[in-house]
Symmetry: C2
Subunit: 202 residues, 2 copies
């Protein structure tokens, strides 16, 4: 159920309603983009479908793009926490492969929503710049987590940021490759890409 994320933490009515509103705005945005395409959707429409005023929209998202993408700070923290945890016999790159693949794969609970998101976001080329912009946030969160896992000071060594940036780039390359009609399944290509990176590129 959707109650999973909506009830667990800080169950004040206030916090719950904020989560609901945020989610409603994100879903409304996805609906409308699927119906009419990103360019033809206005922030007013999104707000109206979510049942809030046009002004309130911008209390939740800084831009139309952000509302469609809808990445929450909680998601970011959860991925970061997963990477920070040192799993037995897994290199940082292997952890990143697992976590980033998990971000794309329809997960246990949200199956439909995740698949929908993926289909809509990747089907809109005009969102590509916003998506790579969003990757900056992910990269920063994951870099911090990896630095903690490796026990180095933030920004001290290049290694953590380089590993994260390359891993994200690999996933993005596979997505682009697929969008351009490239061969192979996405998941399989991601596996191959990480194998090559681990083996060393030429």
């Amino acid at each position: 159920m959707s109650t999973d994320l909506l009830t667990d933490e800080s169950c004040g009515l206030r916090e719950r309603k904020k989560r609901e509103t945020r989610r409603a705005l994100n879903l409304a945005a996805l609906d409308l983009v699927e119906e009419k395409g990103f360019a033809a959707v206005t922030t007013e429409e999104i707000a109206a479908r979510a049942g809030v005023s046009a002004r309130t929209f911008f209390n939740y998202f800084p831009s139309k793009e952000a509302a469609v993408i809808g990445t929450t700070a909680e998601e970011l923290e959860s991925y970061a926490a997963a990477l920070e945890q040192d799993v037995e016999g897994e290199t940082p790159l292997e952890s990143l492969r697992r976590i980033l693949a998990g971000m794309l794969a329809p997960a246990s609970i949200d199956r439909e929503l995740r698949a929908r998101r993926r289909r809509i976001l990747l089907g809109e080329p005009s969102l590509a710049p916003a998506l790579v912009g969003n990757n900056i946030r992910i990269e920063n969160a994951l870099t911090g987590a990896l630095e903690r896992r490796l026990g180095v000071q933030s920004g001290a060594s290049l290694e953590a940021r380089l590993t994260v940036a390359v891993a994200i780039a690999a996933v993005r390359a596979c997505i682009e490759h697929q969008q351009n009609g490239g061969s192979g399944r996405l998941e399989r290509n991601i596996d191959q890409a990480f194998d090559r990176i681990a083996a060393g590129l030429r």
Copy 2:
């Protein structure tokens, strides 16, 4: 001299004036961003300083960001051509290192302009999303070139796109690292990053 790029090809007055106007808009944008910061600059100001109407601005650049960044199709083609050329004893990754490093380094002619560009663009965090968005264009151009160099059909294999994406990500990681007060010189870090990628990440 600036006549280098302005007179060599298709010397009609028309083409020359277009190049001049484009350049004037880009320089005006850089000036103003340096003076007041990106957010405080309007497209009208840029157009006024370049001596054209506000409407004409958008005949040259699709957005305010694009005017500041100012990457031309010619530059893209030139980098692509450099990568397409198969240099004796150089792997694709080594060619990419050389070419991408060359994009950052103050070149033979444009020394001041290049340095200025670099300083202004990297000094404006609000431009980061636009910069990574611009990287998509670079990635596509370089991917096509590498595919031709390797003699594979466009989009057929993942290898070309993966190599290019990882190389660009490496450079970007080094830039971010430096912006966050990280250790080391940029050029040196880029060398190290490519060495690690060639050796295989863990």
